[in-house]
Amino acid sequence: DVKVTQSSRYLVKRTGEKVFLECVQDMDHENMFWYRQDPGLGLRLIYFSYDVKMKEKGDIPEGYSVSREKKERFSLILESASTNQTSMYLCASSLSKSQHFGDGTRLSIL
């Protein structure tokens, strides 16, 4: 089975902090994704990567950046956290059109 692991289930940070969310997959997938999930809005794509060091903006990239130094790891970075970035963050990896998700990180910015 594909395993997508997100480093934290819950995270509380302060406004202005730099926040790192980590995601690791164990199936050698080329594609990795970061989404945020908000009630009534579904999942919205923040960034995705189709190869090491390659990244593309999704639908809501403002306030975020990403890093993919190794194939198995895809990091989401909040450069200066703000309260409107309080949300559930989901990481996924994919091969052959099937995306596999991690458990999610519930991030609260105070």
Partner: protein, 118 residues
Amino acid sequence: AQTVTQSQPEMSVQEAETVTLSCTYDTSENNYYLFWYKQPPSRQMILVIRQEAYKQQNATENRFSVNFQKAAKSFSLKISDSQLGDTAMYFCAFMKHGTNFGNEKLTFGTGTRLTIIP
């Protein structure tokens, strides 16, 4: 750009009944994939069923089946003999066909919260 609409924010049915979740989408693409994902209260999103637009036959996975109407751009999910474990958020999603970079992106609907009542 593609859009996916789920017009039922919440639904509830009695255990063992059949329930249908609605999904419509808008696209100018001719070839694409459609998905239903399930997110139980434990949170991990899992794939329920997948449909390729070029296939006329509706996809089926055990108690889950879809009614895919390409001309109407409709993709509903039917759950037969519903079970307590089916309680979850259900998301409809769209993916373009093709092998170009970025063609594995999903566009999601806003979800339907389904509750199975004992």
